[in-house]
Amino acid sequence: MVCESWKAKLDTYLDGELPSEEMRAFDVHVHNCPSCSADALTRVQMKRSIQAVGKRFTPSAAFRKRMQQRIEAKPRRSSFGFAWMMATAVIAILAAVGLTATYNEREGVHTERVYSEVADLHVTTLASSSPVDVISTDRHTVKPWFQGKIPFAFDLPELQNSEFSLLGGRMAYLDQTPGAHLIYDVRKHHISVFVFQERSLRLPTRLNENSFAPKNVAFNMETWSQGGLRYFVIGDASASDIASLAKLFKADAS
């Protein structure tokens, strides 16, 4: 019974993840406690077995060759080391105006990319044979479904006395970040609402400029940041419908 507190941390110790002082104390204890020592030994054996068995699958030579060929057109990324920064600084002094223009252009391209990706997520979902993974008009069913699937919590607005109805939700990923995707209906138009953690996304600053209108996006879209979360509302419904749904979310989150 004396060893319970030690044994509770035994796996963390064997994974080498305890703070160094605790690791040292653990070393001493394990060397002097037959019970913990035996337990540690068997757990190490277990880890080794898993490691041996876990490296089980190998790609075929044909698949490896296929992938190698696809990747061969390798894009070299620029190095952001000291020398590069020095060179940039010189160029910046000589052509400050030019760089500003380039920066604005890049921001614009980045913003376009974010809009395109959100639009793609919306279209792909609607084209899917099963657009929602949790089918419910009840926000009290949809919201708990996301628990444990995304690393944040959010609220869904009350829709009584509004024209919107909730169809359900599913997981979405933007910039490799998990988020919630909610689908609403208004007069036979589907509207997607995406919610992501703001700090996990690498978004351009320009996204918050209301005056920036994305090109090549056939949908109406509204985006804003509130309470550390980034919201996107997108659909082929009218701009006023998009704004109304966004307003409900904003009111609920404030």
Binding site: T42, Q45, M46, I50, P178
Partner: protein, 179 residues
């Protein structure tokens, strides 16, 4: 001179990503349990990573980044969605499991050394448990790397790992009793 060295060191996608090919494939196969699906998953992962490579931040963990893309791609696939519906990861706050005495699955392992038994036990783990055990014990990722890969806090990594290992031990014990 320094500039030339920097250029030589500048990493291309291929140089960074291809050494991970075997590991990613192995992980994909464990997740999908199917060769064709694993190949599709790896292919899609590389395509997405190549597309997003310009946004990858130097100095951050490339391996965790690649594994995260693969795992997220798997979760949104049909197989992944089915697999994740089996278990809701609740009570992540459960305390770590205490040691067990007597004839433990580990001693069974030592005695029988049965690879098939361990393979089946890993295979039968729910996907949230399978992935965390594989990342820790097979890929030998640190808790920090696992947290980055799975987009969860380190505390959750620890509790999930603890529960996964307990489930694995229980599974082994059951198979031993059956056998």
């Amino acid at each position: 001179m320094y500039l030339a060295r920097l250029d030589a060191q500048s990493d291309s996608f291929e140089e960074l990503a291809m050494p991970l090919f075997d590991q990613l494939y192995n992980f994909a196969h464990w997740l999908t349990r199917n060769r064709e699906e694993a190949e599709d998953l790896v292919q899609e992962t590389y395509a997405k990573a190549l597309k997003g490579f310009s946004s990858f931040r130097l100095g951050t963990n490339f391996r965790a980044w690649m594994f995260r893309i693969l795992r997220n791609t798997f979760l949104t696939s049909r197989t992944g969605l089915k697999a994740t519906m089996i278990l809701s990861v609740d009570s992540e706050e459960d305390g770590p499991e205490l040691g067990v005495e007597g004839n433990t699955p580990e001693t069974i392992l030592m005695e029988r050394s049965n690879r098939q038994l361990v393979q089946s036990a890993i295979d039968e783990l729910p996907v949230y448990f399978r992935e965390v055990v594989l990342l820790c014990d097979v890929e030998e990722m640190s808790y920090q790397e696992i947290a980055e890969t799975l987009s969860i806090p380190i505390g959750t990594v620890m509790s999930r790992l603890s529960r996964a290992r307990k489930t694995l031990r229980d599974g082994l014990r059951l198979q031993f009793q059956k056998g």
